[in-house]
Subunit: 355 residues, 3 copies
């Protein structure tokens, strides 16, 4: 670690202390808490300042404590109506938000919409207006069109939480990944850590949101995959961004060498048809995360995957269950992070937050 | 307004006062309330007397007050099991009933049934018997076959609420439309108001139920659409009904002229194939509710739509969001009306209501 | 009844008394109860000893008492998360578990999975691990592959309840059938009673689980159907099993003669294509349970069906609603039995139960 990074680390610690004082007492309703959280919506992580990210992390700590209780529930958001509107199939993210909301004593309504019924922007707007008129205070949505939650946020009077939009963003996933890494890394800091995101970055909202938070926290992020699946990232990396460290490569050996963290991305089999990917077998041979490849990383490398996994394709089955894999911890932390996000956004509603 | 209508209005006010006294204190369970509501089921509005309609309106006022609270819930129906059985896709009506039931502290079970599995009447009967045996006290159902809820009510021991059956009836929609109009019209009376229902009346359960309640409350109802979509209504209008005012026409200009209210109906695109409708473009040109057409109505005309809208077809996008549009209020009032209906029917169960 | 059976009956009564003392006070959480229930999972009935079956029966009695209350709920399992993961369509079993869990104040999450997404065993394992990481304490699952819940139980840290796996087992159905029969039979004993299971035993998990419990309780079980649908059962019957009485035949008259109980099985119409079944009409003519056939049984024969019924095929409509039919009671008892099972398994989690 450089002297500069060291100073930054110290500054970061100071900030953590300052922020910790502000972490809400999450058993009580957010409107009773003087929490400096300004955002009404969670659309992507790029609107979050570093102190705000720290506040999410600190609030998530408090939610983890709730989850460890015999009855893992608090009455904090009693009477708050949460509607979960998913235009794409999902088990993990949908259930994670549902459990998170119920743990805070929200009432939850699920709507599984077929994408076809909202082919026009106007229809999405009508749907969102209707959901608000039906009494929803918070709207968690997933949509195949990038940017759809931004449109929803323009018309919805409550809070919109982006549960994944097209290739664009998956902010709660990036925050749970960050929380998981901070829990696992010695010292709890990403500063100067080499984090490899391996796979189909082109179509991955998980990759885009993670690149933002990980570089914001000082990580040295490497994106690695077939060159057809890295389009646009090289230009992004070359442009640089206020001292963020960000490397793009198709050289899997160079990427994994001495990595602190390797996050494998899900390969979507429908990409095959578009000619962007060779066969699954060839992909697995060239880019799959195997024990052999992992030997080039640091001995205590952390293995991540956002799920659901294609075992034997982007990740070998024995890597997925390796002691260094934190895939299950990611899922559990997801519930706590989403509890924190619902709590903070509900507070912003009462304190007059902006978008 | 004629002298006769005037007297009727006065009589109506007197009745309203008389009924108001009977509006239940909805924070408490209905069995503790001396409410004169006799119906165990809500199958259509044609079984409701005018005082009973007034009671629904007064109870809805009480539920609106509940919805305005910081925590919009009452324990009134705690322990009551509500099953929502929908054989047709729906977001708005299904969620509206679900939210209404949860606001009253009911337990809610959703069943989305494929129409195919109940092609025979016997199967529907078995399904309803099973739902009762599983513990349901109230059954909200939507079915593509007109009359299906009547069959269900014959075998179900609790209360059946018709959430829409074929082309036949949609009673909770008619009651929420009525409530919305009374809230919006000066004096809160429909007496002598010109209400235009514009569109595909033939296939519309919304139209059928609305015609009943609106004429019962003294409105001058006009049904307007392509003549192929008005079959049967002319004969119905010609027969007359105890002084109800009811006009059927294909002349959109005559219909909208001096209208107090225009309610556009959803055009279902599958009607195209049957040859009953010209192209959507031609329909929009000849019958679509545009700002231009609306200029012939009264300046403070009220615009309604039961949703979901095909914007640019039966209603122009700028009309849908015009300040005179109450489409969003319809949705919000829908939750309150359904809370009132669940409450009143639950009371009839305890007081020994009839069908 | 033979002298031997008589002695067995007396022994059984003694056991019932002994066990009754152990029936938990189900208003309170199971961890506060000294209940001798060792099983963490409910995978099939073949792991249950007779005293354990008696304990389920006694606990179900207590749950029936809860269901008879004005508000049929107890706080016993508050804070317990139940996930219902069904890879096959179901209304009755899914809703029954959902209502049972809610009556015990559990939080319930429903996941309707398409079978296709879990074609590989690894994926099911990942799904189950994810569900656990999301906070589930109990997992109710139905799967088209026999044995899938056993695989799930190997990786799930909480309790797995088999809601039906392939042709293999449906333990909660067998237990509710047993409970229903004990409630209906004079003396509450199956000892020496002739119970006929009529229909497609080959593809029936209901038949397999029922054969086990019914013979365990001393019934004289007859399996009857077309010989193509009895494959394997004859060998099973011939092998015998510790004094269990079990006859296999295609002779419907011999089977029904003097029967105490006839349970008709659902015919799945897709079996037709495989050539295992003649036409539905022929099946109905040769094996359908009609009033005429029923005349050969004892006058107070009990008629059962696990549902959903194909009326006019495996059971005549007038038989289904005959006063001797207990089909509706089966459904109601199903909720109580599942409450008992959830309660007992939750207790085993606290008391360190085994698989």
């Amino acid at each position: 670690m450089t002297a500069e990074a060291d100073r930054e680390g110290a500054a970061s610690s100071a900030r953590v202390t300052a922020v910790s004082a502000a972490v809400p007492a999450v058993d009580a309703p957010p409107q009773t808490q003087p929490v400096p959280w300004p955002h009404l919506h969670l659309l992507d992580v790029d609107r979050l300042t570093r102190p705000q990210i720290e506040l999410v992390m600190g609030t998530t700590d408090a939610m983890r404590e709730v989850l460890a209780r015999p009855i893992p529930k608090v009455p904090a958001l009693r009477g708050v109506n949460v509607t979960i509107l998913f235009y794409e199939a999902s088990t993990r993210t949908r259930v994670s938000f549902e459990v998170a909301a119920k743990n805070l004593s929200c009432d939850v309504v699920n709507i599984a919409a077929a994408s076809s019924s909202v082919s026009k922007g106007e229809s999405l707007v009508d749907t969102v207006r209707t959901i608000e008129a039906l009494g929803a205070d918070m709207l968690v949505m997933r949509h195949s069109v990038s940017g759809a939650p931004y449109l929803a946020a323009e018309v919805f009077g409550g809070s919109v939480l982006n549960g994944g939009d097209g290739w664009h963003a998956h902010p709660s996933q990036a925050l749970l990944d960050l929380y998981t890494l901070r829990s696992q890394l010695p010292g709890g800091s990403l500063e100067g850590r080499k984090v490899v995101i391996l796979g189909d970055a082109l179509h991955s909202r998980v990759a885009r949101s993670n690149i933002w938070t990980l570089t914001a926290m000082g990580a040295d992020v490497w994106i690695c995959g077939p060159s057809t699946l890295l389009r646009g990232f090289e230009a992004w990396a070359a442009r640089g961004a206020a001292g963020r460290r960000f490397t793009v490569t198709s050289d899997v050996d160079a990427a994994i060498k001495d990595a602190d963290v390797v996050m494998a991305l899900r390969i979507q089999k429908e990409r095959m048809a578009s000619g962007l990917l060779p066969s699954l077998r060839e992909y697995a041979a060239r880019y799959g995360l195997t024990q052999e490849r992992l030997r080039a990383a640091k001995p205590d490398v952390i293995v991540m995957h956002p799920g659901p996994m294609n075992e034997g394709v982007e990740i070998a089955a024995d890597v997925a269950v390796d002691p260094r894999s934190v895939i299950t911890a990611q899922v559990t932390n997801g519930v706590a992070v989403r509890m924190a996000l619902l709590y903070l956004l509900a507070g912003a509603q009462h304190h007059g937050g902006n978008a």
